[in-house]
């Protein structure tokens, strides 16, 4: 007897397309790229209990993904500096489209859908100038590239849409790289990262940066809440034993506020935050795979607690709290004061968990 997934995939192929939802992809709540034990790469759908909902092979190592707001469709991005992204049908596993970075551009590994799901935004490097770009792709036109806007800085790493709006938040990491020299950093002395908030037409709504003394704190990853708060996670490019704060909270009209825990707590992060996510209860978590640490702060940026787990990195919101993942295949439920293992897969989960 054909499985429901197989049956639906058949329907899809025959053109009798019902309105599919994420439930048809096995009820995933989150996405993560991963490496299988044999070294193959794939995008995984994960359920609320940490179990696997689906697996779709990828041609190379992934980084992050973007989930369509309603349709069971994901865009998987290659690891930086990637030249392509794949639009995946999460029910059939088919690659529906391949997005190639235009000539002179490469992707940074993150992207976001518009609220109605008709547009996809991608972070890109304009290679000859190093200026950041946000590429705009039209889903209803077969993911044709229909334009681009300035990202507001150099090295835009993550873009996300503020919940319930079409406002985009862009983490401009500030680091100029060139694909010819891989990930070599070309401007550490002059880098100036920022967070840029923009309307979907590219008009700038706000543009904030840390104190110049912290200009080597590269903003890479962000998370947002419905009230417009954006949590910013940094990667310090100076001496790791300077142990700078790595989390700041942005509130509209109030700029960035650093969360500065004590020296021991700061050093536990090894000057590197790999991911950031809110909990449904309002707290925010940052992870450091290098420090093997996940730290939880309250909504005002006061440090609450930390957990030690080797290679922990992915963290994202769930309806009741948060979820975290690590490079040894574990999925954890994250509460305000608890980190509980939910599942252990024979996989290495890549940097990010993406909430659907």
């Amino acid at each position: 007897m054909p499985s429901r997934r197989g049956f639906l995939a058949g329907l899809l192929a025959s053109g009798l397309t019902p309105r599919l939802s994420w439930a048809d992809a096995g009820h995933p709540t989150h996405l993560s790229a991963a490496m299988d034990p044999n070294g193959a790469y794939a995008l995984y759908g994960l359920r609320a209990d940490g179990a696997r909902a689906f697996r779709i092979p990828l041609p190379g190592r992934g980084h992050a993904a973007a989930a369509h707001p309603t349709y069971p469709e994901a865009v998987a991005f290659a690891r930086r500096p990637g030249r392509f992204a794949l639009v995946l049908d999460c029910v059939s596993g088919a690659v529906r489209h391949r997005l190639d970075a235009p000539a002179g551009r490469h992707f940074y590994g993150h992207g976001a859908y518009a609220q109605d799901g008709t547009r996809l935004y991608t972070t890109e490097n304009q290679i000859d100038t190093g200026q950041g770009r946000i590429g705009i792709w039209a889903r209803d036109e077969g993911f044709e590239r229909i334009g681009e806007i300035a990202s507001g800085g150099i090295g835009p790493h993550e873009v996300l849409r503020l919940p319930g709006t079409d406002t985009l938040a862009v983490a401009n990491g500030g680091i100029h790289t060139h694909p010819d020299t891989g990930r070599e950093k070309l401007n550490l002395d002059t880098m100036r990262p920022n967070l840029t908030l923009m309307a979907s037409d590219g008009s700038i709504l706000d543009h904030v940066a840390l104190n110049p003394a912290l200009h080597q704190n590269s903003l890479r990853h962000i998370a947002a809440r419905a009230d417009g708060t954006v949590a910013c996670a940094f990667q310090w490019q100076g001496d790791p034993f300077d142990a700078p704060p790595l989390l700041a909270l942005y509130r509209p009209g109030q700029g960035l506020r650093l969360a500065t825990p004590d020296e021991i707590t700061r050093r536990a992060m090894n000057a590197y935050a790999g991911s950031v996510g809110f909990l449904a209860t309002g707290e925010v978590a940052i992870t450091s795979p290098r420090g093997g640490t996940l730290q939880v702060f309250d909504a005002q940026g006061q440090f609450i607690t930390q957990y030690r787990q080797p290679d922990i990195c992915g963290v994202a919101e769930t309806p009741s709290g948060g979820l975290a993942s690590d490079g040894t295949g574990r999925i954890y439920r994250l509460g305000r004061r608890s980190l509980t293992e939910l599942a252990s897969h024979r996989l290495a989960f890549d940097n990010h968990l993406i909430a659907i």
Partner: protein
């Protein structure tokens, strides 16, 4: 002290591997016991005099003892928030100097209260703060003497607390892990925690103890050598390596010929280096030996990962090495 623990192991439903037990009983517990003894002696010595050969000898013995256990950064030391309290280094912002000057400028009476001293900046605690006061005092006089006493006393109390914690509870936790237990949930995790200590300490040797003073060939950084004022930079490397060789031998289930050989190479290299503060990083003739030692440590890291890490199923740092 040890016997009742052994009995409880025998009662366990799930077997605890011999290597975890051995690593704890023959490596961790004696390491802390030595630290307790040496820091107590240092504190006693300082009570009677504030300087002189007896003090420096007791300082070196206590610092040596710390090198025997400094790589254990989990368990009670983490739970008590003491991971930086014995050795605040590297210190690129010169925080030790600033913290000591600040205390001295205010003649802060906190030096008279060991409990309260636990709450002062970690930069003003431990062996590097003591070293400043003994070898290059940023402050002098009676207050400086009181500071050295307070630091040594606090180190002795901290060492006693950690040793007591390990013996009272944590040693059981590590040897009889169970799913209800918050910090160590399985035998595998106990082993992984010990392995992580080993791997992290090797990386610290490579990146910090050797990497910082070496800098680059064009720009060597001799002033960044660890504990250079008391000329312990090379000694710290050697003692740390000795402790790590001991841990790796106890942690491995099977013979580890490649790891043993890699450690031997590093130790014979050290015999050919006589550069207590690693000042030779600026001299091309001496520098190449220090660079070669650093390369020896890289090889140890690789053999440890292959012979011990792989067997424990410890990943290679899928995310931590990706860096994005």
């Amino acid at each position: 002290m040890i016997r009742p623990c052994l009995i409880s192991i025998a009662l366990l439903a799930t077997p605890v591997s011999a290597d975890v037990t051995e690593a704890v009983e023959a490596h961790v517990l004696p390491g802390y016991a030595t630290l307790v003894e040496a820091t107590a002696r240092l504190s006693e010595t300082l009570e009677s005099t504030c300087s002189g050969p007896e003090v420096t000898q007791a300082y070196h013995t206590a610092y040596d003892a710390w090198l025997g256990i400094s790589h254990i950064q989990f368990g009670p030391i983490e739970a008590r928030g003491l991971t930086l309290s014995f050795a605040f280094w590297p210190d690129p912002k010169n925080q030790t100097d600033k913290a000591l000057r600040k205390l001295a400028a205010a003649e802060d009476p906190v030096v008279n209260d060991s409990d309260a001293y636990a709450a002062v900046s970690v930069a003003a605690q431990g062996f590097l703060a003591l070293e400043r006061l003994l070898y290059a005092p940023p402050v002098e006089g009676d207050y400086a003497c009181q500071l050295t006493r307070a630091i040594a006393k606090r180190a002795a109390l901290n060492a006693a607390d950690l040793s007591a914690d390990w013996n009272a509870g944590f040693v059981e936790e590590l040897r009889s892990p169970n799913a209800q237990n918050a910090s160590i949930r399985s035998d595998d995790e106990a082993k992984r925690a010990l392995y992580t200590s080993l791997a992290t300490a090797l990386q610290f040797l490579y990146d910090q103890r050797l990497g910082r003073p070496l800098g680059s060939f064009e720009k060597p950084r001799p002033k960044r050598a660890e504990a250079r004022r008391s000329e312990r930079s090379q000694r710290n490397i050697e003692l740390s390596l000795r402790a790590l060789r001991d841990l790796s031998a106890r942690l491995a289930d099977a013979p580890t010929p490649r790891t043993d050989r890699a450690f031997d190479v590093a130790f014979s290299r050290l015999e050919g280096i006589d550069d207590p503060a690693l000042a030779g990083v600026v001299d091309p003739g001496k520098r190449f030996k220090i660079e070669a030692l650093r390369q020896d440590i890289r090889i140890i890291q690789q053999t440890v990962a292959a012979e011990i890490g792989a067997e424990l199923g410890v990943g290679t740092g899928f995310n931590s090495l990706d860096g994005d």
